[in-house]
Symmetry: C2
Subunit: 230 residues, 2 copies
Amino acid sequence: MTESRKPILYSYFRSSCSWRVRIEALPRLCCLWSPLALALKSIDYETIPINLVKDGGQQFSEEFQALNPMKQVPALKIDGITIGQSLAIIEYLEETRPTPRLLPQDPKKRAQVRMISDLITSGIQPLQNLSVLKQVGQENQLTWAQEVISFGFNALEQILRGTAGKYCVGDEVSMADLCLVPQVANAERFKVDFTPYPTISRINKSLLALEAFQVSHPCRQPDTPPELRA
Amino acid sequence: MTESRKPILYSYFRSSCSWRVRIEALPRLCCLWSPLALALKSIDYETIPINLVKDGGQQFSEEFQALNPMKQVPALKIDGITIGQSLAIIEYLEETRPTPRLLPQDPKKRAQVRMISDLITSGIQPLQNLSVLKQVGQENQLTWAQEVISFGFNALEQILRGTAGKYCVGDEVSMADLCLVPQVANAERFKVDFTPYPTISRINKSLLALEAFQVSHPCRQPDTPPELRA
């Protein structure tokens, strides 16, 4: 494959891990919550959709495996390297395109952002993704997904009560918010009861009002099927 | 609970996630691979063992849940805050006690370190931990664990061929190595066949020769049962 000048995001419209990265790229493109950022770095990128269900899963193709041996989206080709794993991508963009910042300056608040992000990306999402659900079996999928998400959300709700302002940590959008919204969307797909999670619900609603979260939404991607578009 | 002057690590001898953090703390204490570090910051810490199996799991106690709502080890009480999630802890220590460094200076190499770390902590470990294995059922546990570890190690072996020097990324010990060694130990417990993973095996062997990896080993913790001591 030849090197494109624009970064290339390998993505799937419904993948919550891909969505995290799409939000990340967009604030830097659209500069929505920091007027300062308007004058600063922005990222324009090209999307190559990887359909996780079609043809037995396009992530298993030889071409894609060579790019990301983990056979998962997202993967981002940028600055001559290819990075897999959504948080590694987000941290790289944060270090190389630092404005607007998605990690607070205070190390203790950064630790809170990373703890919440890791709780979602290690403690919830992997347990309810497509490959695990296949193993669990059709008839148990819904219960399994609801249980693992609720277990994580019980912890998250308690943590957010201590850290949240308008968003997950204080009043600035952070990496934790990029993880929260796609996970809440997964929870909604699995019909999780949100009654015990007023803080999660409130933050999610505030974030979904921001354009970066709307334009990166699974229902508005180049590969979103017509019947799921909104 | 009163605030201790020393950081407190809530740990379980056999928890691979706790081991990651124990290694992290130790180089800063023992300064093994950087003579420069001898003159610099070090961390002495106290361990409070949380037995994940005794009494139905001590991580479910009210006292521990108040500290870490996710009901998992490790958790580190330090500088007046409590941090859960091993990578969030390691990143915090890296930012507040930067010597010796466990993330390279070059952002592209940092991205590789984080990608490998996330691959293990999100893509492998959560799928073979105690809570998932319980759900999978006694008779399927070994096959399940072998499959998810082998799937991840196939990717890891391919990635490491491109990034490794003496260790996971180049010739300096990094956060990725702190994730690798405990995951390899898990793989050995589940009798994974290492024939396809010569690079993983070689790096693991080099790391286990370092004292920080030896003294933090599950077989040498305050809560290691006598029959598992070595």
